[in-house]
Amino acid sequence: MADTNTFDLRRYLKGGGHSFGVWAALVIVVLFGLMRYDNFGGAYNISSFLNYNAMFIVISVGMCFVILTGGIDLSVGSVAAFTSVVAAYLSPYGIQVALPGAVLAGLAIGGLNAFFVVAMRIPPFIATLATMLGAKGGALVISGAQTIAIDWESNFTKLGMEKAFGLLPWTIVITAVVVVALWIVLEFTSLGRTVLAVGGGEDATMMMGLGVARAKVFVYLLSGGCGGLAGVFLASGFGAGQPLEGVGWELSAIASVVVGGTLLTGGMGSVAATVAGALLLGLVFNILNFENGRGVISLSAYWQMVIRGGFLFAVILLQSQLTTRTRRAAE
């Protein structure tokens, strides 16, 4: 039967019913922007928007995996700050060294998280709080609390500026590759299924002989690695390693994950919806910038944060309303 082999869009959408709200909100916000601002849909805005938000998308997707297992990773912001400094120091050797080096540094911190959580059985909240402080301190120590300029002579600068295949900046292409790869891992591999199972019921998963520890180690390594990649993007985007950046990024990432309909208790969620959540939160800033640009109102960054908070609340409210309605309809 065709049923068993073809990709059933209807079934897919039904299965992802809990994340419908974020897609609806994303469409509405994009349409609003397109109608209200002339340059909103322009190549420049799209490209610079994605370029800037790439680091948030990457850490949100990593965070999504951690949350799916029922854990949390508070260290991602500090990891990004730390690895941006690492990337800046390595930039004279070129992107081929700086990028893997920074990602490795991120993986190392992720590995430390995994060790604490899996081997030492320390609750993820506490373990990653400790590495958050540690990585933050590490970033300040190795940089002397100064921004570390990247080497402008090296090819490191190309990352955010040169277009891959003449289409989009490398940052965006790398982000897209990471997102697609992780989407495949979650949806189509047994490792992904195990990640979901651990969050849904750790004891049951262990009883089935599935690799609970392996899945957990994977998600913390992944989140650390994503933090490292975000650090590279941060350094290239700002032209310098930023030891003071990254504050509160973990909360933005958690917000993106939750807006995307992923349960904070784990077991249910999606990569695509997390990306949509990250885009949505980024778009709110983008739109407020456009609004400021029109000169009618002028909102400070502080007020923008307040508005973003209100918006986040509205989307989650919409989400929970939709979820209860579909659940009622199903009963």
């Binding site: 019921g201 049951a204 009963e331």
Partner: protein, 506 residues
């Protein structure tokens, strides 16, 4: 006698689907009244209407002859209707006293909570039940049984006229059940009515006065328990002829008639920190080995040790391939499966679909080029949904939406999909309705005929006596005797357990 509660012509439907139709229930003051029926018969819907969780579409509820308008659980509580749920709705981190008086705390002259009076009152009620605990300690530090009694104490403290107990005994051992029953008798004597919901028919005969049978959203009949037979009750619940049921027996199992094959597994003199002190079991192909004994005798612990979940401190478990088993992954690789007792905690993955729940343990074998082979996965899921007659809207339905019996079938499918040689079944039919119980038992029997070996743990003597080919009796973590079917009777099993018990006490 005037009825305490009178529900007449109750109707309720959800989104067009009728859950209750013209249902009636009358409860007398000071009686223990049972409601029985299969899952989906409408028991819980009826209870939830009585306790204000749902609103009825039609019909009338009267209390002491006066119309009762209840729309929230709080109103029900204030009217004197208290409910003790299967999953306790207490606060484990707070003290026993707080749990008893919460929301109704005694006050002193300053309007502050009078803790001294609260503790005294709690102690006094629990003492009436024959329970002596430190009421200032966290509730969660006590056993489920004590917690349940505390829930009842709360009901008594609120001067409840009717206490509803929903599957109250499902997680208690025999001694705890005995205590609970004496409390129920205590309530009856003081004029409090008890509405008792249970899947265990034996319990009915021990403490209930009358029984109401529900089927397909209606109340079929109400009898004095003394004038019923078990067979009669089952036939009314199922809507089937009593003789037809008698022909197949009370369970769908029949041990002692097969030809066991070669030895698959030998557990010798197992000792562990979980309380095993020398338990030995041998399992052969095509046989059901029962583990008999009281709760706490080491039945589940023995099974866990065999499956490699708890490390042994002595003795050994040898697979016929000559391999020792150290962890579940290895046990599964050697052809073992373990259907656990606690379906919710370590069985189902609630957010996952029926398909995913079936295929989960098999995933490592469903890999093709690193990805899950979805086509094979769907075929497999569909095969088991058909073969085990799992009632579901489709394989993509989340498992949490299925009834208990069907969830259990999905878990059974999960293990059968691994095509195991040995399957450990820990209380496979607990908390499922009579119909599903029959079906699950027939599935097991069919699999055993095809060569499966089963290690069966059951608190229901019937299931063990009729089902097992051999019963290994455990006592305080030791295997003390072995009974061979055919020929085992319930009395013989109880005798074996009790005899050893006396000897150990002496």
């Amino acid at each position: 006698m005037n009825d305490l509660i009178q529900m007449t012509g109750i109707g309720k439907s959800f989104a067009g689907i009728i859950a209750l139709q013209n249902t009636s229930l009358a409860i007398r003051p000071g009686e223990v009244h049972a409601i029985i029926g299969q899952n989906g018969a409408g028991k819980s819907t009826l209870i939830k209407i009585l306790t204000g969780v749902y609103r009825r579409d039609e019909g009338e509820v009267r209390m002491n002859g006066k119309p009762l308008a209840i729309s929230t659980p709080r109103e029900a509580q204030d009217a004197g209707i208290a409910t003790i749920y299967q999953e306790l709705s207490l606060v484990p981190l707070r003290s026993v006293t707080e749990n008893v008086v919460m929301g109704y705390e005694p006050r002193n002259r300053l309007g502050l909570i009078d803790w001294k009076a609260a503790h005294a009152r709690t102690r006094e009620i629990l003492a009436r039940f024959g329970v002596k605990v430190d009421v200032t300690r966290q509730l969660g530090s006590y056993s489920t049984a004590i917690q349940q009694l505390v829930a009842i104490a709360r009901a008594v403290s609120l001067e409840a006229k009717l206490v509803i107990m929903d599957e109250a005994t499902s997680s208690l051992d025999d001694q705890e059940i005995e205590t609970l029953f004496s409390v129920v008798r205590n309530l009856r004597e003081s004029g409090v009515a008890v509405l008792y919901i249970s899947h265990f028919l034996d319990e009915l005969y021990r403490i209930c006065d009358r029984v109401t049978i529900m089927r397909d959203g209606r109340t079929v009949a109400t009898h004095d328990v003394a004038q019923t037979t078990k067979l009669g009750l089952v036939s009314e619940m199922l809507g089937r002829d009593a003789r037809e049921i008698q022909a197949v027996g009370l369970t769908a199992l029949s041990g002692g008639h097969g030809q066991p094959g070669e030895v698959l597994l030998e557990a010798q003199d197992m000792r562990s920190r979980t309380g095993l002190r020398g338990a030995s079991v041998t399992v052969r192909r095509r046989e059901i080995v029962g583990l008999g004994g009281l709760l706490g005798s080491g039945r589940t612990e023995a099974a866990r040790a065999i499956f490699g979940l708890d490390p042994l401190t002595g003795g050994r478990v040898v697979h016929h391939g000559g391999v020792r088993i150290d962890n579940p992954a290895q046990a599964i690789a050697l052809g073992m499966g373990f259907l656990t007792e606690d379906r919710k905690a370590d069985g189902i993955i609630p957010h996952m679909s029926v398909r995913e729940n079936i295929s989960l343990a098999l995933l490592p074998r469903l890999r093709r080029l690193g990805a899950v082979d979805r086509a094979r996965e769907r075929k497999l899921a569909q095969h088991y949904i058909d073969a085990l007659q799992i009632k579901t809207a489709g394989m993509e339905q989340p498992i949490r939406e299925l009834s208990g019996g069907n969830q259990q079938k999905v878990l059974l499918a999960r293990w059968l999909a691994l095509e195991p040689e040995i399957l450990i079944l820990d209380e496979p039919t607990r908390g499922v309705d009579v119909g599903a119980k029959f079906e699950i038992q027939s599935i097991i029997r069919k699999q055993v005929a095809q060569g499966l070996a089963v290690l069966l743990i059951s608190s229901e003597f019937e299931e063990l006596v009729e089902g097992a080919d051999r019963i290994v009796v455990l006592q305080d973590g030791r295997s003390v005797s072995e009974l061979q079917n055919p020929g085992v009777t319930e009395d013989a099993l109880i005798g074996a357990i009790a005899h050893q018990h006396e000897r150990n006490v002496a």
